[in-house]
């Protein structure tokens, strides 16, 4: 088993496959509800298959912070409205193979958008670094 992080982006270098997707606030309330219900359903499916680890959503508001020397307050920068790459949230799955992780990501990407059509957004799949095996020789 290995854990994978499935990252959902608000915006990314990978454009939505089907071209122009209007922002969610321009969808009908029914379309928004259907989208959110779908995300919950996928989490439930993964719980049911014994593969679900975690899911979290992130606010689009974010700030960059760094150390600025002893005794000085942290330096902050942003938020950057124009940032090209913005993480919206994640799901973590514990699965038997990378193929299975890709399957789960594709399922997430099939979430309905305007007109109930799959939005086909890109989901970034990242393997976790695990523990070393006992036997290596």
């Amino acid at each position: 088993m290995a854990k994978y992080l499935l990252l959902k982006h608000y915006r990314s270098d990978h454009a939505v496959a089907d071209g122009d997707l209007p922002p969610m606030d321009e969808w009908t309330p029914e379309e928004v509800n259907a989208h959110i219900a779908f995300m919950r359903q996928v989490a439930d499916e993964l719980r049911d298959t014994g593969e679900f680890v975690d899911a979290q959503a992130l606010s689009p508001e974010g700030t960059f912070v760094r150390y600025d020397g002893e005794g000085r307050p942290p330096v902050t920068d942003g938020p950057f409205a124009e940032t090209k790459d913005l993480i919206a949230g994640w799901m973590i799955v514990d699965v038997d193979s990378v193929e299975r992780a890709h399957e789960a990501a594709a399922r997430l990407s099939s979430a309905p958008g305007p007109g109930g059509e799959p939005i086909r957004e890109w989901i970034e799949v990242r393997p976790f670094l695990g523990e070393p095996p006992v036997v290596t020789e």
Binding site: K3, T49, G50, F52, V53, E131, V134, E137
Partner: protein
Amino acid sequence: MTGSGDDLGELLRDLTPQVLGVLVRRGADFAAAEDAVQEALIEALRHWPDTRPDNPRAWLVKVAARKLLDAQRAAYARERRELRVHLEPDPGPTEQVDDTLLLLSRCCHPALTPASAIALTLRAVGGLTTAQIAAAFLVPEATMAQRISRAKRTVSGQRFDRPGEVGAVLRVLYLIFNEGFTGSVDLAEEAIRLTRQLAAATDDPEVDGLLALMLLHHARRRARRTPAGELVPLAEQDRSLWDTALIAEGVEVLQAALARDRLGEYQAQAAIAALHDDAASAAETDWPQILEWYDELLRLAPSPVVALNRAVAVGEVDGPLAGLRELDGLPGDLPRRDAVAAWLHERAGDVAEAARLYAAAAARATNAAERDHLTRQASRLNAGRRAQS
């Protein structure tokens, strides 16, 4: 027996798979049998601290069988059908041997994915709680509960009269051992406990081979990491930290297995581990003999991973350039290939190439401890080169 709580817990944990095995062998549904055994354990916890029965196993079998019967009666009553399952009397301790293998082969059924087989084995045979297994694999308890109940459903449909292939069981036990120690539950210890049970119940020398392999690797566990958690490669381990009692036991188990002249891959791997354990220092390692065992292993169970490890042995026996030639035919994306190539290049004196390969290996490592170790190797070589220039 001291009658203390720990002692009682230990006893119940040992008896659980045996009792479950008896019920399953009699034809009981797997999930129903497990529920019945859990109820019998609750009864035991209630009554045994005051009066422990003379034959705890027979007591548990009797109570569990009654619970199973009660549950079946209730189920049949609901369906307005008459009871057809007849439970036989306790067949006695002689059949316990078969039950262990029967239960394990059921939990390691080929229809299950490795993860499901591991979870079910730890639950049904190991007697760990769902919470403990979830903690060991760092997933939520609800997820692990679901994984286990799906696995039970998968194997429940199939009747098991005969044990399945031992090989499938050995693979699962090996995987559990290789998970090592990830948190609150020591899976390596657990795998050894289960393999000991299986070894006592079967006469397959490969079971003993796997037990020996586990003991001989487990013996080095205290030397494998620094107190800060950094990986220590075999050649640099403090061998005074190795557990000599475990090594002695592993060698004894292995020798008895080899004497039966039915060689298999686990015995060959154990032989390699034994030769490493036998060397008082890395320099005294008997590499020619290790190489012979790798040749044997490659014949028994050919795989790129074995070929990669064999290349290390070739490097030690015939020199690093010979070792590098062994890597030529191996797939470029084979895990740890870059790390082995880096080591061989370093031995051959090509420090720049070794540093580059260590860094490449670090970037592709699948665990943080190995990545950190490889990064330190690259950094050590690069610092040396800067100092020279």
